[in-house]
Subunit: 231 residues, 2 copies
DNA sequence: GATTGACCGAAAGTGCGAATCCGGTCAACA
DNA sequence: TGTTGACCGGATTCGCACTTTCGGTCAATC
C-alpha cells in the first residue's frame, strides 16, 4: 500500500501555508515548498496530484482545525452553543487564522482562482442545520424574517470589518466580539434564560454534527488517489 | 461674471454619470462626455478645472440628491427619524443609486483613485450627530457597547450584500430592508413606543442638519474657481 | 519501492521602439 | 464673450522577439 508519510504531508502543508501568507498563491512554486521542507519536488507530487489539490488540502486542514477548536469550546462549556456565544466565539477563533480570514475575504491576490468548491457546501449545510436546530428548540426567535439572510448579513460586516474604511481597525477584537454578542442576543434570541436541558441536548446534537464535519475535512486532506490507472 | 450655464453643467454630469457606469473612470474620456452632450471639449473645462474635479462634482450631486431624498421622507413622516425606519430607508434609497453604491463598495475598477476626500468627512460628522442626538433623546438604548462601531458593522453586511457569495442576491430589496429594520429595532432601540413630542423635536433637528448637508454638497458642485490668477 | 532533480513545454514575464490615447491648453472663431 | 477643436506632450498601450519561470513527468538513483 502506498502510504506517504502523513507527518511529512503535514510538514509540506505547514511550509505551503507559511509561503502562501508571505507571497500569495501565484508566487509560491511547488519547488519552494519542497526546498523549505528539505525534500525533492517530485516527493510533493507523491502526496497530491497537482498544486491546486495541495492548497485545497491546506485549506481543508485549516477548516478542520478551526472547526475542531469550536468543537472543543462547546465541549468545555455546552452553553457555548447559544447564538450570542457561538457566533462571537467563532468570530474570534476565525480571526486568529489568517489563511481562513484571507479566504473568506475573497482575497483574490492570495488565492488565484482557488475555488472553494465543496468546502463551502458543507459549511452551508452545517449553518442550515444550526439554524434549524436553534429555531426548533426555541433558542432563536421564530419572528425573525428570513433568518438565513438575517444572520448572514448581520454577521458579514463584522468579518469584513476594516477591509474597507479602516475606521475601527484598532478597536480590540474582543470588544468587537462583545458588540456582536449584544447584536445576536437582542435581535435573534428570545428573552429570558434558556432551559439547561435544552442547551445540553442541542449541544450534543451540534457536537456530533461538528465531529462529522471535522472528520469529513480530515478525510479530504490526504486523499491523493495514487492508483490512477489509465483506461 | 463668468457663469457657465448650470443647466449645461447638469447635462455634462448626466452624461458623465452614464458613461462612468458603463465604462468606468479610466475609460471615460472628457471628449466622450463632451460629444455625448453635443459640445466641445474645451467647454467642459469652463465648468471644472480638470477631470477629477468633474467627477467629484458628479458624486457630490449624487450625494446631495440622495440626502435630499432622505430629507423629503422625513418631512413626509417625522417618525422616519426612528433608527429602525431611518436606516432601512436610507438603505433602500441608496440602493437605487448605482453610482453611490459603486462608490461605497469601493469599486476600484470604477473609480480609479478617485479619493472621496471631504465627502466622507461630512457624512461621518452627520452620522456622529445622528447617534448623539438619538442617544440623548432616548431613541437609542444607552447600553449598546461601542455604538458607532456597532451600527457600522451591523449595517455594513447589508450594503455589501451579494458582493461576495451571491447567495441572497435574489432576495427582494424590500425584504432585506425589513430584516435590517428588525435588527435595528431589536438591538438598538429601547422597548415601547417613542414619545411623539420627542420624535417631532428630533425630526426638526435632523432635518435642519440634513438641509445644511445638502446645500453644502450643492455648493461644491459648480465651484470651478475660474479666477485662478498665478502668483 | 521510495525518492529525486534534470528535463520538457506551455505560459508568463521582460525590454523596447512604435503607435495610440487623452488630459489639458489656447489661438482662432462666432 | 462664450465656444471650440486642433494641437501638445506625457503617459499608456501595443507588437514582438527574447528570456525566465514553473507545473508536472519520469528515467535514473538509492
Amino acid at each position: 500500500m502506498s502510504h506517504p508519510n502523513r507527518e511529512r504531508a503535514d510538514r509540506i502543508l505547514d511550509a505551503a501555508g507559511e509561503l502562501l501568507l508571505r507571497m500569495g498563491y501565484r508566487k509560491v512554486a511547488v519547488d519552494d515548498i519542497a526546498r523549505a521542507v528539505g525534500i525533492g519536488k517530485g516527493t510533493v507530487y507523491l502526496h497530491w496530484r497537482n498544486k491546486e489539490l495541495l492548497f485545497q488540502a491546506l485549506m481543508m486542514r485549516e477548516s478542520a482545525d478551526l472547526t475542531d477548536e469550536v468543537l472543543q469550546a462547546i465541549r468545555a462549556d455546552p452553553a457555548m452553543i447559544l447564538p450570542h456565544r457561538m457566533i462571537p466565539g467563532s468570530f474570534l477563533i476565525t480571526h486568529r487564522r489568517p489563511l481562513v480570514m484571507a479566504m473568506l475575504r475573497g482575497n483574490a491576490e492570495m488565492f488565484g482562482s482557488l475555488g472553494d468548491l465543496a468546502l463551502h457546501k458543507q459549511q452551508d449545510a452545517l449553518r442550515a442545520q444550526f439554524e434549524e436546530t436553534m429555531v426548533r428548540h426555541g433558542l432563536i426567535r421564530a419572528d425573525v424574517p428570513n433568518l438565513s439572510y438575517a444572520l448572514s448579513a448581520s454577521t458579514l460586516g463584522f468579518y469584513l470589518g476594516d477591509t474597507l474604511s479602516h475606521e475601527f481597525e484598532d478597536v480590540p477584537l474582543e470588544e468587537k466580539a462583545a458588540v456582536l454578542a449584544h447584536l445576536i442576543r437582542t435581535a435573534f434570541e428570545p428573552p429570558g434564560e434558556p432551559d439547561p436541558g435544552v442547551v445540553a441536548e442541542v449541544s450534543a446534537v451540534l457536537s456530533s454534527a461538528l465531529e462529522e464535519l471535522v472528520s469529513s475535512y480530515r478525510n479530504g486532506i490526504y486523499a491523493h488517489d495514487p492508483t490512477r490507472a489509465p483506461g
